[in-house]
Subunit: 322 residues, 4 copies
């Protein structure tokens, strides 16, 4: 083992830079050289490489986004794309590759590893937090605090006027972000893909809050696979509840921002663990943190197994919202 590569893939997430920094420092400390691959699998295919030494990772621990950039690469899903990616690794003497990303990244990694003789270790980085094998993904804590900041701001105005607000947050197949930011923000309603949406029931509850004299009501909506869906929900509710409503769509601003302490610490811990996993021969796994301890999950499980919403939170949801 002489040289390790690092790439970020899929949607970027705050803390990816802190993870890169930790991985590079750990690799250098173990006598390895480190190559950065720019722009994810796409850069791996096209050989967009850069050297990662101590200077390259200075002053990045607090930066949002990823210095290595990231794209989605349809080409990597083809046999030819993978072959070219492998050639890049082979040609540049990269013995092992650390991949920071989400479900899609590890799905690709699983196939790549099956077809080619290559050492891969994954690190979960996605604000959706929907990766099995880790309680938290890098970027999630920053994203909930971002959404929470929006809820707090809306509450200022919600209690000045008498109004209904829909705040749309990210969350493709899962409601982690909506659930945790909604509970932390003490909102009235949380709509997530895990629970079926019933406009009638929602409207009835909103009507009750209105009667109870609540001065402002906030509904957090996970966008699911239909960004902008809040406009339709608001319009459907409008037909049943006589209440002016407003919509905010946070969109990609949830991906940005300087990472929180928790995200940087998780990112640093997993960055160190990824290199140690490489050195200990734990390839084919994603490193994660479950109940405070390091864990290792094979790529297939990370996206095939469904990660449940935290039971502790769903059980108190009704008590704390409404």
């Amino acid at each position: 083992m002489k040289r390790v590569g690092i790439l970020t893939s899929g949607g970027d997430a705050p803390g990816m830079n802190a993870c890169i920094r930790a991985a590079v420092r750990t690799a250098l400390d173990n006598g390895l050289e480190v190559t950065g691959i720019r722009r994810g699998f796409s850069g791996l295919i096209n050989g967009e490489l850069c050297r990662l030494d101590r200077r390259a990772i200075r002053n990045i621990v607090h930066r949002g986004g990823t210095i290595l950039e990231t794209t989605r690469s349809p080409e990597f899903e083809t046999q030819e794309g993978m072959a070219r990616a492998y050639q890049t690794l082979d040609r540049s003497g990269i013995d092992a590759l650390v991949l920071i990303g989400g479900e899609g990244t590890f799905r690709g990694a699983g196939v790549f590893e099956e077809e080619f003789d290559i050492t891969l270790v994954g690190v979960p980085g996605t604000i959706d937090n929907d990766v099995y094998g880790t309680d938290y993904c890098i970027g999630f804590d920053t994203a909930i605090n971002c959404a929470l900041g929006a809820i707090d701001r809306i509450r200022d105005t919600a209690s000045s006027h008498e109004r209904l607000f829909f705040l749309e947050v990210m969350g493709h197949h899962s409601g982690f972000l909506a659930l945790e930011s909604g509970i932390a923000g003490g909102v009235e309603e949380i709509l997530i893909p895990e629970y079926p949406l019933n406009i009638d029931d929602l409207s009835t509850r909103l009507q009750e809050y209105l009667k109870a004299g609540k001065s402002g009501t906030i509904v957090v909506v996970a966008e699911g696979n239909r960004p902008g869906i809040s406009y339709q929900i608001a319009s459907a509710v409008k037909k049943k509840v006589d209440m002016e409503s407003r919509v905010c769509v946070l969109g990609h601003l949830q991906r940005g921002g300087s990472p929180t302490a928790r995200d940087r610490i998780l990112a640093s811990t997993l960055g160190v663990a990824a290199i140690q996993a490489v050195l200990e021969g734990r390839e084919g796994n994603m490193v994660g943190e479950v109940k405070g301890d390091l864990s290792y999950t094979c790529f297939k499980d990370t996206w095939q197994k469904k990660k449940p919403l935290p039971a502790g939170l769903t059980s108190i949801l009704r008590l704390l919202s409404e």
Copy 2:
């Protein structure tokens, strides 16, 4: 002069509480008693009053929204509504009324004052900043910093991916908020009501940025009178530029948040000035700040005259964006 009333009206804006606090302290210091009217003109009509003493205004200087709440009141636009509002003032011995709000508020004030024998002084508070007679309105500085924070966050992810972002900010008839936040954020394009929108020209310029190798492009859009309009612009552009795009709609979260230093200082200055205007017999005016000095503008001018965008900024817009 024994008792002064204060109300907030129209859309709430961060800093209104700092203004209330300053006005109350100044009034008390001059031997006046102060009555707060809750929920704007609607509360004035219905006699929703509260006492504002030093205790009532403790620990509010940093709070978003308004402790007096605000609503829009269609009833106040009727002769009967105004008559009832006048009765409230008469009955409670309120000799003068300070109104914190925007265009609509001063439009109503102008009529109210013509028809009834009442002393009114206005203070400009609106994040739209579109009130003639003051360079800045209370809440505007907080709102541009809020929009700016969103731009900064999007930039993190914009430079990680190669993408086009539309960020929709407030601004009904005017582009102050979009213009200042866009220049401060160094975005590529700013679309405001003052300039006609040409999708072809916009698409051409976006295409050029793409060719020039820009890794991410941000377009700030003033919502005008059609909140959610960004989705239509994005979809129109999509037909001409081959670039994935994303939309964020800030909506009412721009109204919230703890006011910035500048907003609190402006709000405090104008709160003091409003009471002094009452004492000096300058009724019928809105107090404002023009080029750093206090100014007084009759209600009619505040909404009839069109406040121009700052020439200093429009002249450097092309230099600083693109």
Copy 3:
């Protein structure tokens, strides 16, 4: 069981309000009435009570500090003080008491409970995070993010100039706050009470960073029991290293601020758990969270047993700092 009391004691911590809110909602949901005791044990002795219903806890989830206020009460350490405190509970029909605080609070609770027939349940709230029986205390996450924000700001200027910065953070007997904020901030040195301070060694390392061409160096210092100690360390280092240095002392500003998502979620979870502990007859314990699960620790253990620094972090400290 008919009525439960809640008080906050010791140093205040962000998230205490979210905890009060969750406890009150859970109690009401279980048919209990809730009495708030103001100003900690001192208010308990003097009978400073208030009713906590749903209205009382509206719009507090995001507020720093504690609506119940807190003081330190030497009187409660006397037999007579405790007797009077007991009388307050007895007289007002409070059957059980939830105490939100730190080490000192639980020390007092342990004695109180031994001497009087009273049902007590504790919740850990202290930015020092030094309570045994829970991985995290309410307020800690907000405090590390506050310290981290300071580190990030200093880094901006540290890399503009060539300089040495000492940033003093809280932490009486323990270095949790310095350790986690320092690792998250990627600082060069972390000085904590757990490790003996050697000025010579420190100076040697600082000299090395200087030689290695580092443009700015940040040392995080836990104040221990000597607030302001950084000035002495800076002055001792000055004699050995030829480098201009600057000191910042965060002090109590680390106690304030709107709580982070994590702190609000922890606070909400523990607030619910505290009432459930009361109902399940788990008195005499502090509820906490260990490795993601609820835990119950008798009062004595919470302050007698020494909570170790997280091994995962101390082991990677050298790798990530320097």
Copy 4:
């Protein structure tokens, strides 16, 4: 005129990067080439140059500090140092130099310009805001918001406990920062170099607040030329007022952070104006903004004339604090 140089000097201030960006874009737009001088006058003496093209200034508008770095250079105060600095300019074909800095910078510039045939234009950048010839200096607005954030955080805890807090902010010979942040924060007392400090009077007033039942009292202290002076004031007050007190010293964290909207807009406006001043032959001046309009002040006046505190604010100080 073919090539313009840019340097930042003295203490760094948030917004310097936005200024550099605007100046570079304006210069390029006018067909000039731009050279960056690193590390202020020291780098000018030693020929530390870099090319500033459009790529170099991407993604810097929101960054604190200065990409060109800054140092204090005793050598530049010597005849020989200036001669070497001139040689650098001469050798590299730099026809004009834009200097972003404060009093000390313009003092040096005045001498440099007298002794050598060189075109200099200044831009005021200092969080102290003590430069004559401009209402605001770049960085000041960010710094007051930073100090204000600290005040708000302390207030959270001040109203939970009953306590006295001293918050020390920057301000060498002037109290701009303490005055504006203190008024915006609604603090009880503001101690600035412009007004003589009388411990007896201060103690008497603090005693009165205590009697009036104020739950927490905040005193903002300008450090003047004695950083850490708050500890002595606190200790002197302690002898006269029976009240526990705490000290926070913000120090250099006030210099950092992402610049506010206002600072970026001012920085951008002055960056454009500096290059235009070069092109219009207005050398020997600092460009500034007075009452909203561009202004030009010869170097000597910028530091010889005393900039007064804003009269509007000092006149309402007593009304708004206490």
